[in-house]
Symmetry: C2
Subunit: 204 residues, 2 copies
């Protein structure tokens, strides 16, 4: 690992921590420096502004999540789809990640005003949609999912539902387990082929 | 209509207009006064702070939307469910309402920090869930929807999807028509009873 990669990783962690602690609106470059071993001057050497650090953070999180859901637990695409849903929803289980979701919602509300935020968020959206779609295609081709499953349409639906689960959790403290259960029921009832093996509980 | 009701209505309209124009974070009491015929002092006579005006606005919007979806176009509960989905999604078609959605997302991000916002947002959430559930129950009992439709579970799913559609539209400019089409397909394929009449296109 080069020095630059190390610095980048450290700054991304510091930006994440500062964002969780202070939220988007009141975040300052100094708050990020306070979470790292670097000075504010060093931060400015690498990134012009707080916005640039946040764009880099979103890009970094998209890459990390893409890596994370590249390999999913479960023997079938159906089990893997549930593992993906869990991977998306589980972060809010710990406190700092719940704070991250809240800050992320603030950032999403900047979408119409900030082209770079919108572009980074759209990258994540496309990545998630693409991964869900490929699991659905794979499962349909293997006969795990019904033959009439439209991967693009269902991926659209699931990505929208995941966005909604995040929003409702932040806004009204809607329980995530509720959404997890509802999506599991949906996958089981509406997507699984009639003769797919459900005996293993999580369709493994 | 009493003077007080007139004043309330005017202040709610002014608060809505100012929120759309300035967003949540930078909204000031003066911005709201500027959108009404009242002075800032008069506003303060009725409402202690900008927050109080916003709580009242959310309450007012919940009541208005509840009234609006009390009677829905369409001959069957299935058609009425689609009309409800359209009523929820359509506002963003005009510019000021798109701005309102953005401000609303900012307010949703305040949920964890502001109990009153959370309570008002939860009222809306419950109202929407309740109305969707009652349409599903009605449709199931009339044989329009499948007998195995679980009204509470499907309502949960649809309310989550509607929240997600709003979030994705604000954050990444995701087309609302896409969500409308996806939800229509879902209602048609997964909820309608096999012998329900679909010949009228929108299941009327």
């Amino acid at each position: 690992m080069t020095d630059t990669t190390e610095t980048t990783d450290e700054l991304m962690e510091a930006t994440y921590a500062a964002l969780c602690k202070h939220g988007y609106a009141s975040l300052r470059m100094q708050d990020i420096a306070d979470e790292s071993s670097k000075s504010k001057a060093t931060l400015h050497y690498h990134y012009e502004s707080k916005q640039d650090l946040l764009y880099a953070l979103l890009d970094h999180l998209t890459d990390s999540f893409a890596d994370r859901i590249e390999t999913l637990e479960g023997e079938t695409p159906a089990a893997q789809l549930l593992a993906l849903i869990d991977a998306y929803l589980e972060p809010a289980a710990d406190d700092s990640a719940a704070e991250f979701w809240t800050a992320l919602l603030e950032i999403k509300a900047q979408g119409p005003y900030d082209e770079r935020f919108r572009a980074e968020l759209a990258d994540f959206d496309r990545m998630l949609h693409g991964r869900v779609r490929s699991l659905l295609e794979e499962g349909r081709d293997e006969g795990v999912f019904r033959a009439d499953v439209d991967p693009d349409e269902i991926a659209e639906f699931l990505v929208t539902a995941l966005n909604g689960a995040q929003t409702r959790h932040v806004a009204v403290d809607h329980p995530l387990e509720r959404t997890q259960r509802t999506l599991e029921t949906y996958v089981r009832r509406e997507l699984l082929a009639d003769d797919a093996d459900e005996t293993e509980g999580r369709f493994e």
